[in-house]
């Protein structure tokens, strides 16, 4: 065997093994990634809010001054203003604290008020992280995002896992390029008939080659997003800053240079908001005040991206004088190759740079990549079907491939049901685990049935599950389609339409598979 042939053989082995070793986790990350491209839409679909008013359009300045009087001075260091539940205004006053229990973080008072009248709806004391996590309408979307970002594994370990998966995907994509000698011709491959190995290879090649550039882009940006804070920052801090991560973060992010704790009256926030909206050409999405009530206080205003931009904008103002200070970059204080690259990572990974159009393209390519993983696994198993160990893998693949979307749809049902009882944060992840266990159990109990039959059942169940979901949402107090049109709830219509369309596709596919089997059965009897 010559060197080139041996290298190609090794590359093929690396391509197959790299994806096979962690195929199940890779599939979970890819499928959830395809879904969470629409995480904001899923949140709004979950909430079904009526109302068109931006919570920060009201007299924010008046509300903050009034609420500040009710909060102890030592808890006024940071003020975080966002849109809260039901379109209300959420205001948090807090400071970094370490409690006797050992817990540490931003601790303080949270208020939920009517953005116009200032009527208080809710007041809480606690850690900011816990308070913002307590948003029932985010339970489903946050669960899916967490599954995608860290596979629900807490701490850095989850990020390491998804980072490794990103690198594995990158290796599989690059080796895929190296082993395909006729990549342009492969773009136009048509599947050869029959369920032969070549048919599986044609399917995998077609899906893989079309999504190849996207696979490289997504795996690279995804691995960066996982490793940047979990590994990159600690390593750079260790060697360049003597292990001081805060100092490293301060250098990378750019810090507020002037420190002046002299008490000072705060400038009119309304004027700052108005100026920031003019500069960004977009409404304000959130506002943060650092060192409230001091001469060195800074106001940060956050804005979504305009249609021609990749990222949203963040501005800094002096809170004591109202003077515009600078546009905050994601990293660093000035334009540079490093800051530009870092800023490109998130929009390129999530596809949220050109509104719904780019996200639809990202979701479609994500679906192609998900299919590439499944078809690659099918090909891998088909080549080893004579080996009894790998033969069992075929059933595992069927259970996982159909089980995961089924579990996600089942979790959505439980979310809608528990949203009525205002406790979906507790139930959503637990429901997912229970449904996964049930599906594994069903897969085990039906192991005598052929893969074709069980796939048809899974496919049909998924179709019916998706078809009924929008109607179940309506019956559990969700926004009706008429209300959605009236209140510009396009997200509700988008997700409902997607569920119905995909439901029809899966149900029809299951029905066709049944009809074909019935026909061949009748033929064999005749």
């Amino acid at each position: 065997m010559n060197a080139s042939a041996a290298s190609t053989k090794r590359l093929v082995a690396l391509h197959g093994w790299s994806a096979t070793v962690l195929a199940v986790l890779l599939y979970v990350v890819m499928l959830t990634g395809t879904i969470v491209v629409f995480d904001n839409e899923i949140t709004r679909w979950s909430e079904g809010r009526t109302g068109l008013v931006n919570a920060l359009d009201g007299p924010v300045d008046v509300h903050i001054r009034r609420l500040a009087e009710q909060v102890p001075d030592d808890l006024e260091d940071d003020v975080i203003v966002r849109e809260g539940r039901g379109g209300n205004l959420s205001v948090f006053f807090g400071a970094n604290r370490v409690l006797e229990s050992g817990e540490s973080g931003l601790f303080g008072h949270s208020f939920l008020i009517d953005p116009r009248s200032g009527t208080l709806h809710q007041a809480k004391v606690g850690f900011f992280a816990d308070i913002i996590a307590d948003r029932p309408e985010y339970a489903l979307s946050n669960f899916l995002v967490d599954l995608h970002v860290r596979l629900h594994v807490p701490g850095r370990l989850g990020l390491y896992m998804t980072g490794i998966l990103g690198v594995i995907m990158l290796i599989a994509a690059v080796t895929g390029v190296l082993i395909h000698k006729h990549i342009v011709r492969d773009l136009f491959t048509t599947e050869r008939p029959g369920k032969r190995i070549v048919s599986f290879r044609d399917r995998h090649t077609l899906a893989g080659v079309w999504s190849l550039p996207f696979a490289i882009l997504l795996s690279f940006t995804g691995a960066f997003l996982s490793f940047a804070v979990s590994l990159g920052l600690p390593v750079v801090a260790l060697v360049a800053f003597g292990g001081d991560q805060d100092k490293a973060l301060e250098t990378v992010m750019g810090s507020h240079a002037i420190v002046d704790p002299t008490p000072a009256r705060m400038a009119d926030l309304q004027q700052i908001i108005s100026d920031a909206q003019g500069r960004a050409n977009m409404p304000i999405g959130g506002l943060t005040i650092h060192h409230y009530g001091r001469a060195d206080a800074i106001v940060e205003t956050a804005h979504s991206a305009v249609s021609s931009a990749l990222r949203g904008k963040t501005f800094e103002y002096s809170a004591s004088t109202g003077e515009f200070l600078r546009e905050v970059r994601l990293v660093g204080t000035d334009h540079s190759a490093g800051s530009t690259l870092a800023e490109l990572m998130t929009p390129l990974h999530f596809g949220n740079f050109a509104g719904l159009t780019s996200r639809l393209v990202w979701a479609a390519l994500g679906a192609a990549m998900t299919y590439t993983i499944i078809s690659g696994m099918q090909l891998w198993l088909r080549r080893r079907q004579d080996d009894p160990i790998w033969r069992a893998g075929d059933r595992v693949l069927t259970t996982v491939a159909w089980g995961l979307p089924l579990a996600i749809v089942g979790t959505a049902y439980v979310f809608l049901l528990t949203y009525l009882a205002d406790d979906p944060i507790y139930w959503t992840p637990r429901a997912f685990v229970v449904i996964c266990v049930l599906i594994i159990l069903i897969g085990f109990l039906t192991r005598k049935l052929s893969n074709q039959i069980i796939s048809r059942y899974y496919c049909g169940s998924l179709g019916i599950g998706l078809l009924v979901l929008p109607f179940f949402r309506l019956q559990t107090g969700g926004l009706s389609w008429g209300e959605a049109v009236l209140w510009r709830g396009h997200d509700v219509l988008l997700i409902d339409t997607f569920c119905i369309l995909m439901g029809i596709v899966f149900a029809v596919s299951a029905q066709r598979s049944y009809a074909t089997r019935l026909q061949s059965h009748q033929k064999s009897q005749a």
Binding site: S7, L11, I171, A223, L231, T251, S336, G338
Partner: protein, 108 residues
Amino acid sequence: MLDLVRQAEIKSRSFETWLQKRPKLWRWIFAGPVALILSILAMASLPFVLPAGRGGINHLVLPVVFFPVLWAGFVIFPVVSHRLNRIGGVYGGLTVLFILMIVIGGFT
């Protein structure tokens, strides 16, 4: 001079013979743990040699951005390359270089 070249050649061949006793194992080691260690060392050492740039953060951000690419590259190289002693030499040399960069950069 010729003797030195010949001696180096003989050493290189004996190194290759030693690696060739278990080629698969060595490729796994080079593409597995060695590739990970090398990419972390690269990320740790590059801040000392890359220019800071106008924003003053290029040397800190670029190694972190390219860490996944470096790791993938260090995994693929031992698979593509035919000669094991070349892989060993390149990876050994890079390890020494990265460690030197960290040591020198850390003291200056």
